[in-house]
């Protein structure tokens, strides 16, 4: 059934864990008989790639194509098994499970086809760079065809920090193979042995004879397709010439001139503008609706279909006017509110959820560990629901032509959106094409197909292309949220600073980063699913942020309890050399051991690991006791994720994660009551702004001997605990809830 995707999931525990927390309450689009939650992290459709070689080259033009088998060894085995001889594997067939491909055209143009999309993580540049490096051409000469479901091979989605490690590696291999093929072609052409031929600068040379042929000359007249072998020799990172260096963002100029077109900027001939009339509360059902007035407006299309109400009009202004003229009455039921939510999550366990809770992780004996402890500590920690609120809200432009549907939308999962559209409109998947212009970011928040379906529904009714851009309020309300967390920790430690017992319970938020990296013999670590009143899903770092906040705050409390320096305490309980290395690197760059206590000023440190990356953060915080204002003066993160592909962009990611982490650490929290979000505006939901900026520094630890891991998420996890620990250092007030200081810190008041 779920072939390629299952393999991916099975290979990546982090993704699997993400899937377990993804069950969500979702607004129902009864209009199109479509349950969104199934697609939240739903199974990918089986990708039948049955392109014949000649069709392939007809579509692509001749040349040299290198196809990357998806999932590699395991996937191949599963595919072979499941297809059970059903599929003919003649010479003319290309393999079914393709992750990406690379094409060197007869004009020498190099094009990469991948289902990954650009969400601001700079993958367009870094993937082009990886290919350029292997093929010895300039980055500018690589064309990246990304996320167009009609042209690129199936892809699960751009999330989980997997893009750089997996896709980067795959394309690197493909490019290296293409280079080998081109060298072979040159050798054949000149009837020489291939050893000694050199590929660089877009051509193959024979230094012995001085002959040279461009890639275009070599690819001309070819119809060469190869699926890459398992172990292709790669250029060792130490020898990288392009990829290890910082290069400017591909197409950067389009962004600084306003020329780049996001999905929300799409213009199609005769296009209408949409506005959706939303229910009064989550889960509300439509009692009655009067749309007569709106329907009577010139050029306005109005759709009432089940609980779906939407309009499309010749201008955004008119769409807004028409929507206002629709009088809808909704029925909703009482729902929990953000006050008291953590008690609710603890007492309303996993109801209505259909996944298996992972088994607790148990080691040694907690009883024995606690008995051996000289100091025991039991504390609870919480993290609020927060919103991704990407600056570009969800948006889609949809166009029907001869019963086929094309949608431009900002999504991290183009194929999932395509399949959702196909299902919603009862089409076969090949009648639906989804294109993803580089988008106004997502942070894990743009996995679902709502705006695409809504725009397509209205376009179908109007018989014209329709664009829908969610309002900020819709984005804050009808998207999904980072899960709230209640975390209970009970621990024991000896006077000399060794942790003897560690019990950790996470309610609702998930298992990312739930395991402790510290060396503790007696542990029980457990995740408990809850019946979340809000729709929740993926977010940068997901549960790892809450889990690290709780753990690293607790570590600080334990260090204090045995009057030991926070760094020294961690050293004493750590065997993981990579985590230790980033902690030491951060401490050194920060000047941890030379820090000077002043009144109202404090320092904190925290570290952790997630998704193959290791991070340590140090914070310097100032607290004005009179006003309660907390200012993070300096924030430093040391980060290691294997070999560094592009240091400039990596620093940018790490710093971006720090700033984003700052919001969730200090003041971001979704407030809700009775099925409504009560702070759905930037004026009420505070996000980090210029004046909140600390001095940020990133220290990159380059491990050229290790494969690259993704960087988009992990650097976020150290921020909140480092700041919280610094606030304690400054004031003696221990904060155990994220956000830490939504209304400032009020010491000794109240």
């Amino acid at each position: 059934m779920r072939r390629g995707g299952e393999v991916e999931l099975a290979q990546d525990a982090a993704l699997k864990r993400t899937a377990t927390t993804a069950n969500a309450k979702s607004p129902e689009l009864a209009a199109v008989n479509f349950e969104l939650e199934r697609y939240e992290f739903g199974e990918p459709a089986v990708h039948h790639f049955e392109l014949q070689r000649r069709d392939f080259f007809k579509a692509m033009g001749g040349g040299v194509a290198i196809l990357v088998a998806a999932g590699r060894p395991l996937a191949a085995a599963v595919v072979a098994q499941e297809s059970g001889g059903r599929r003919r594997r003649g010479d003319e067939d290309l393999p079914e499970n393709i992750g990406a491909w690379l094409h060197v055209g007869e004009d020498g143009g190099i094009t990469v086809f991948t289902g990954k999309v650009e969400i601001g993580q700079n993958i367009r540049t870094s993937l082009a760079q990886a290919v350029a490096e292997e093929l010895r051409v300039s980055v500018a000469s690589i064309r990246m065809n990304m996320g167009d479901t009609a042209h690129v091979p199936f892809d699960m989605g751009t999330f989980g920090s997997r893009s750089t490690p997996t896709m980067g590696l795959q394309l690197r291999r493909a490019a290296a193979t293409a280079k080998d093929v081109l060298i072979d072609l040159a050798a054949k052409k000149w009837t020489v042995v291939r050893d000694g031929l050199v590929a660089d600068d877009g051509r193959v040379r024979d230094p012995r004879s001085g002959r040279a042929a461009t890639y275009a000359e070599l690819a001309a007249g070819q119809q060469f397709a190869e699926t890459i072998p398992e172990e292709d020799p790669l250029i060792a990172p130490a020898k990288w010439t392009v990829a290890g260096k910082s290069i400017a963002k591909v197409e950067g100029r389009d962004f600084v001139t306003g020329a780049h077109r996001y999905a929300s900027d799409m213009v199609l001939p005769g296009m209408l503008y949409a506005k959706i009339v939303r229910p009064s509360a989550f889960g509300a059902s439509l009692v009655s609706v009067d749309a007569k007035e709106a329907k009577a407006m010139d050029g306005v299309t109005c759709v009432v279909d089940g609980d779906f109400i939407g309009v499309a009009a010749p201008s955004e202004y008119l769409a807004g006017q028409a929507a206002k003229k629709i009088h809808a009455e909704w029925k909703s039921s009482p729902q929990p509110s953000s006050d008291g939510i953590f008690e609710y999550l603890k007492t309303h366990r996993g109801k209505g959820q259909d996944y298996d809770e992972p088994r607790p992780h148990i080691a040694g004996s907690l009883e024995a560990g606690l008995a051996a402890a000289e100091v025991k500590l039991r504390q609870n920690y919480t993290a609020a629901y927060i919103a991704h609120s990407p600056l570009e809200p969800r948006a889609a432009a949809a166009e029907w032509k001869d019963g086929a549907l094309t949608v431009w939308t900002g999504t991290q999962r183009p194929f999932a959106v395509r399949d959702a559209l196909a299902e919603a409109f009862h089409l076969s998947a090949d009648r639906v094409r989804v294109l993803v212009p580089d988008m106004g970011s997502g942070y894990g928040g743009k996995h679902t197909p709502e705006s695409a379906i809504e725009a397509a529904r209205l376009a179908k009714a109007a018989g014209k292309p329709v664009k829908l851009v969610w309002s900020r309020e819709e984005e804050f309300t009808w998207a999904y949220f980072r899960p709230a967390a209640l975390i209970e920790i009970s621990s024991g430690v000896s006077r000399d600073g060794r942790i003897t017992a560690w019990e950790f319970h996470n309610y609702n938020s998930g298992t990312s980063g739930i395991e402790t990296p510290y060396d503790i013999s007696n542990q029980r670590i457990e995740f408990h699913g809850s019946d979340s009143p809000l729709r929740q899903g993926s977010y940068r770092g997901l549960a790892a942020t809450a889990n690290h906040f709780a753990r690293e705050t607790h570590m600080d409390e334990l260090a204090r309890a045995v009057t030991m320096d926070a760094l020294e305490f961690r050293r004493r309980n750590l065997k993981d050399a990579r985590l230790l290395a980033v902690l030491e690197a951060a401490a050194k760059a920060f000047g941890w051991s030379e820090r000077k206590k002043e009144d109202g000023r404090g320092f904190g440190i925290a570290g952790g690991t997630e998704k193959g990356g290791y991070v340590a953060a140090c914070a310097d915080v100032r607290v004005d006791r009179a006003s309660g204002e907390v200012k993070v003066e300096r924030l430093l993160s040391a980060f290691e994720c294997g070999a560094i592909v592009n240091p400039e962009h990596l620093s940018n990611q790490v710093e971006g994660a720090m700033v984003m982490g700052l919001g969730g650490a200090l003041f971001e929290a979704i407030a809700f009551a009775d099925g409504r979000i009560t702070n759905p505006h930037f004026a009420q939901y505070r996000v980090p702004r210029f004046s909140d900026m600390p001095k940020t520094e990133s220290v990159l630890v380059d491990r050229k001997d290790l494969p690259s891991a993704g960087a988009g998420e992990t650097p976020i996890v150290g921020v909140a605990p480092a700041i919280g620990n610094a606030i304690f250092d400054a004031t003696g007030v221990r904060l155990r809830a994220m956000p830490l200081v939504p209304d400032g810190l009020h010491v000794g008041k109240s």
Binding site: V256, M439, M660
Partner: protein, 159 residues
Amino acid sequence: MRTAAIELVVNGTRRAIASEGEASLLSVLRDEIGLTGAKYGCGEGQCGACTVLIDGVPRRSCITKVWSVAGKAITTIEGIERDGALHPLQEAFLVEDALQCGYCTSGMIVSGVGLLKTNPHPSDAEILEFMEGNICRCGTYPRILAAIRRAAAGNGGVR
């Protein structure tokens, strides 16, 4: 009774506008004139993604009714580049890698250009204060600050 169509002067070009006078300047720029560089981020004047210059002063076009700017000089991000040459602040954004997804970038650059027009050599504190209304959800603030500093250090942002 107002019958005459509204005229806007956008990036130096005079245009008659068919949209309702009550429509937002942002929607008219984007949908009627086809200049999509100014972005919708909130529609409430709280994020700065839609910033344009009105007679040289940064304004939130999402909360500006189109009738209120008739005849005034409107500069959008598309008008910041001149004759194929980037403004020093645009150059500085590229050099400092001051963008991730780039969705805030138009508004940031237009606001920054507005700042440099009146204050060619701002202090850090002045930059922060002036730019406070512009949100970058990707968190590139430190680099944007560096880009504005860089442009100011050159020629005070003058070409």
